[in-house]
């Protein structure tokens, strides 16, 4: 008997944002899935025991059916905003338009040129470095760093500092030049519905489109030397088998590296902030998966209570976190002689910024008020290696003062809101 060769890597996952419940859309984003990605249809059933003078189970009926899936991937900058919007909720994206939106001037912007000539200087008058994308979306797309301010009174000339070899491509006059667009995403009361599609072995295997999905939980994580990872748990309402695969279109940008991260922990960029071996930030939307009416499937999914938790392993440097959590010591200070059990909770904070090498694409996670729930004491070991301190904390609204538990700010080339 011939076996159909269906390789386990012959698969794609893809998604699109719906305009409303019950309105699926052909997928537009295709995360590069990694091991840990799974899909299953969960059914709830019951044994029906009926008295028929036997001891036999007479039948079995389905009570409910839902789709559950986990996506593990390393999102690129545009996709990352898409996922964040799904996690944070409907209307969560506050867009700040690019501060630089101009065009190239003249014919001197040739490959290898170490200066860039632009028609306008809006957004480029301060002293510093600006990161600009030239001809976004085209074959000539490139990101350069230029020194500001430039010279001239229009057109304006800027020195290209990165790449050091100058422009990679020749850009004709009037080509688009933009700085990044900023998307600040904060948690909202409910989320959008999304369509997801799964190809497992393609048309010979199974192609399943799942409609009305919401993000239940997302874990953002990283560890020394690795990539910024996203692990998402989704729940979907309806599924339908399709006979044709979608055209797979992948984002042509880079993922984020752990080495690109800059930590500000409890307001400091020194001490523990320089010693984080690994971290994860877990958000739980706690979907209400109890809304079932006349059908076998859910009638709706809604966001429930929000939890944002942080965990990290830090190379033990000092006892400041122990003092802060257990003895009421001020953040950043080590507990002095006589420090003892204290009722006071000294809040912390976290700002974590990943900026790609091009200076254009970045993501920032901001947690304004962190309450440490546990600071693990370093464990003595005879292995001769370093002490590790594990920390756990929850983000809180500070009794309603903060406007979010977690703000994710993504800078990329997407000019419209998610």
């Amino acid at each position: 008997m011939a076996i159909i060769p269906l390789r386990a890597d012959n698969a794609y996952v893809a998604s699109g944002k719906q305009s409303s419940q019950g309105s699926p859309v052909a997928p537009t984003v295709f995360p590069r899935w990694m091991d840990g990605t799974t899909i299953q249809i969960d059914l709830t059933a019951e044994d029906v025991w009926e008295g028929d003078s036997s001891r036999r189970l007479s039948q079995f009926i389905k009570n409910k059916q839902e789709v559950k899936f986990k996506i593990t991937h390393t999102p690129r900058p545009v996709l990352l905003g898409f996922i964040e919007q799904a996690a944070q909720g409907s209307g969560s994206d506050s867009v700040t338009a690019a501060s630089v939106a101009t065009t190239t001037s003249g014919s001197s912007n040739t490959a290898g040129a170490t200066s860039l000539t632009l028609t306008a200087n809006t957004g480029l008058t301060g002293t510093g470095t600006a990161y600009l994308m030239l001809e976004p979306g085209t074959a000539n797309e490139e990101v350069v760093a230029v020194t500001t301010p430039g010279t001239g009174t229009g057109p304006y000339v800027y020195t290209v500092t990165t790449p050091s070899t100058g422009l990679k491509f020749t850009h004709a006059a009037s080509s688009t030049v933009r700085s990044s667009t900023s998307h600040a995403l904060t948690d909202q009361s409910d989320g959008n519905y999304f369509t997801w599609e799964f190809s497992l072995g393609g048309t010979s295997g199974l192609i399943l489109r799942v409609t009305d999905c919401k993000l239940d939980q997302v874990k953002v994580s990283g560890k020394a030397g690795s990539l910024l990872m996203y692990e998402e748990d989704w729940v979907g309402i309806t599924s339908v088998v399709r006979t044709t695969a979608s055209t797979v279109t992948l984002e042509a940008h880079n993922p984020f590296l752990y080495t690109q991260g800059v930590w500000t922990l409890n307001g400091a960029t020194t001490g523990d902030a320089l010693a984080v071996e690994s971290f994860d930030i877990t958000r739980k939307n706690n979907l209400d998966t109890t809304i079932q009416t006349e059908q076998l499937i859910y009638a709706a999914l809604i966001f429930g209570n929000l939890n944002v938790d942080v965990a990290a392993n830090v190379v033990f440097q000092n006892s400041a976190l122990i003092g802060q959590t257990y003895f009421g010591t001020a953040a950043g200070s080590t507990p002095g002689a006589g420090a003892t059990d204290a009722q006071a909770i000294i809040p912390g904070s976290l700002t974590l910024v990943f900026t790609q090498a091009d200076g254009f694409h970045s993501v920032t996670y901001t947690l304004t008020t962190l309450q440490y729930s546990k600071i693990g004491f370093p464990t003595p070991k005879k292995d001769g290696k370093h002490f590790v301190q594990a920390l756990s904390a929850s983000s809180v609204s500070n009794q309603g003062v903060n406007s979010y538990l977690l703000q994710t700010t993504v800078t990329n080339s997407q000019t419209t809101s998610y």
């Binding site: 537009t28 976004p136 190809s199 393609g202 192609i207 006349e294 080339s413």
Partner: protein, 155 residues
Amino acid sequence: MAKIPARYIGEHTLKLGSYGGPYYDGEGNLRDSLLLHTGDTLMMEEHEIRGDTYLFDPRGEAPTQFLGTGRVVKPEHAGLRDAELAQVGYQFCAGRPDFQEIVPGAPGSPRGGVSAYVAQNTAFVENAAPALSDVQIEASAPVDVQESEEQSSEA
């Protein structure tokens, strides 16, 4: 399913799936790059551009019917409002919003111009190649679907 020419109108360069090809541009020529830039054309599955219609049994007992690409309504349900159609079990799936169909013959494009309609969200292309003989196309857009060379998909 037929493939039809479409133009990519998204903001970002995309990379086509490595094993999804061969890929053809809107004129049917073999593409030699997997990078898809804004404005590039590509032959795509009709349903990816125009969307499609399914009819579910809300009780989950009768088999789901695929009614065809585009927005398709059976004669017995003609005249129902969207909310009523949804109650009957219609599901109208939109096409990709980052692609526009190219209508052959229209001026200003290799094969014609970009159609005025974008298959996105609720703005369905009301044109279809119905799968069932008893369906009624609610409205018809003058789209001349080009048959392309058979392409294997990502699967």
